[in-house]
Symmetry: C2
Subunit: 326 residues, 2 copies
């Protein structure tokens, strides 16, 4: 590598998990306890610029990057270390991030950050990795980041070791006109970040059963996506979300990410589906509720969501594109 | 039995389960999937009068009795059939009930009804059963009624067959000055009654794990009661409540008994405990939240509960007495 600074910039979107990842077999390398399926969220984007600069005495973050988890510099430096090891370089880096959506409120902001960081860092370091290698590497930074490498509908495999745990595309973004209507009920940062939460999953007496049942949920979800079959997709998405929150609520200490307005949106979405609309809810590690709907029903759901007490804002996202170098 | 009408009247209190019963091994005879522990609720009482009358062409209920579940006459008649079989009588009966607390909203109203019904019917039929036999018999009418036969702190055993499944006293009512402050957030009847709900428990992928873990929870709860040790009691009560609602939320169809105000009270109770007060929450198959507290902290918790949005009324109940003939 030349002694001059080398920069690269990449962009990635967050994703909403239909079948959720919660808990690791190996916390250090974020080897997920179960596979997962998500939709990459178009229109929401995090851009990350990485500049390896031999003149730096340490890795540095700009202000906004400091919102990634509880100790962002350590976490990002550890991720850069993996890239440096692979590339055989030793320069420290300046990392600058910019997002057009709120972080830390269950919108999988770290997934977008680490997907873009992985791509930008590899590009700046001169590493040429294929998308599966990038996915595997992104997972080391944030478990769900392995999915944000890809666009459309994406499945992440669990695997027994690092090599097996990466994501692949189930269907491209134009396969199915779904929309994620994200009901923002709070912009506050979550009390316990996902990384700390994952470490508690195994303390729940329900986690093993949730993991053991995952192949069934993955099959139903994958087949529903491939066949564009909304009713079974809706049921399995809601059941999977409830299973993750079950584990959260019964871990030691318990994690209560749902708030009263979250529950109001969840109840409403289920009742609208009973009344014939294509909509279901799913909630990540935060209070905001993702209402997955079909594009043809999105306007109706949007206007109804605006009437639910506690909903401050609604963000719309169709299936999005893969992460990319800018 | 004489050809003249024979009447008896009995009273029983509902109970709040600290370790909850949810799901049956044998639905027909309500053989519970797991053991349970409860506190009988003093001051709340259901009185049941049973009159076996040879002149009746069928069993009859008065108006208020018609609130027990979805088909109360059938359910009560089936229970009377068991008593008639044991006593060798064939007369139909008039059943009159009267309660001083709202039914159908997670206050275990059927537990009090079937405990009192069992005692009144046996008395009127001239059957002399001991309290364990009465407990076993009450269970056939309503699973949690086996606990309402007794006062104070009560444990129900699961057992492999009818003979093993009954309740016994852990400690009498004066053992520990706990208070149940029941935050009423809705007086509406629940959408799905407990009997129908129990039948769905096995459809949850989490029920087997919940049942398998029950002996641990029962041990922690029993030891905490015997040692009057509030912190571990509070933690296990909340975890057990969350485990039951986890199963409910992940059954097919899912059962969402919690409402937004329920969640607000749950959050509040946990935060008050973190701040040093002796209080924890538990929620049965309905939206109302039972806040279990120590008598010395009850006034403070009561005044705080009144400030939680959605709380319409608060019912107070100390440990109560056993069911009895009036």
């Amino acid at each position: 590598m030349s002694p001059n600074p080398r920069s690269a910039k990449a962009a990635a979107s967050p994703n909403i998990a239909f079948i959720k990842y919660w808990g690791n077999i190996d916390q250090a390398i974020r080897l997920p306890a179960n596979g997962s399926i998500s939709m990459t969220l178009g229109g929401l984007e995090t851009q990350v610029m990485v500049t390896f600069d031999p003149s730096l005495q340490a890795d540095e973050l700009d202000a906004q990057s400091a919102e990634v988890g509880s100790d962002p510099l350590t976490r990002i430096s550890q991720h850069l270390d993996i890239v440096r090891d692979l590339a055989g370089i030793s320069s420290h880096a300046l990392v600058e991030t910019q997002s057009n959506f709120p972080s830390g409120a269950g919108l999988a902001s770290s997934a977008a950050v680490f997907a873009a960081l992985t791509i930008a860092a590899c590009e700046a370091a001169g590493l040429e990795l294929d998308s599966i290698e990038l996915s595997r590497l992104a997972r080391r930074g944030s478990g769900s980041a392995c999915r944000s490498i890809f666009g459309g509908f994406v499945e992440a495999f669990s695997g027994e070791e690092d090599n097996d745990a990466y994501a692949e595309v189930i269907a491209l973004a134009d396969h199915w006109r779904l929309v994620d209507l994200i009901a923002i009920v709070s912009r506050e940062h979550k009390q316990i970040g996902s990384t700390a939460g994952h470490a508690l999953a195994s303390t729940s007496p329900l986690q093993a059963a949730r993991v053991a049942d995952a192949p069934r949920r993955l099959d139903v979800c994958r087949q529903s996506i491939l066949g564009r079959n909304f009713p079974p997709l809706a049921n399995i998405i809601e059941q999977d979300s409830n299973m993750m929150h079950s584990v959260m609520l019964t871990s030691t200490p318990p994690l209560l990410y749902l708030s009263p307005p979250s529950l109001a949106v969840m109840e409403a979405a289920s009742s609208w589906r009973t009344a014939g609309l294509r909509v279901c809810y799913t909630v990540d590690a935060g209070p905001n509720v993702h209402c997955i709907t079909h594009a043809d029903d999105a306007e109706e759901i949007l206007s109804r969501l605006r009437t639910v007490p506690g909903v401050e804002e609604i963000i719309q996202a169709p299936p999005g594109a893969a992460a990319r170098v800018l």
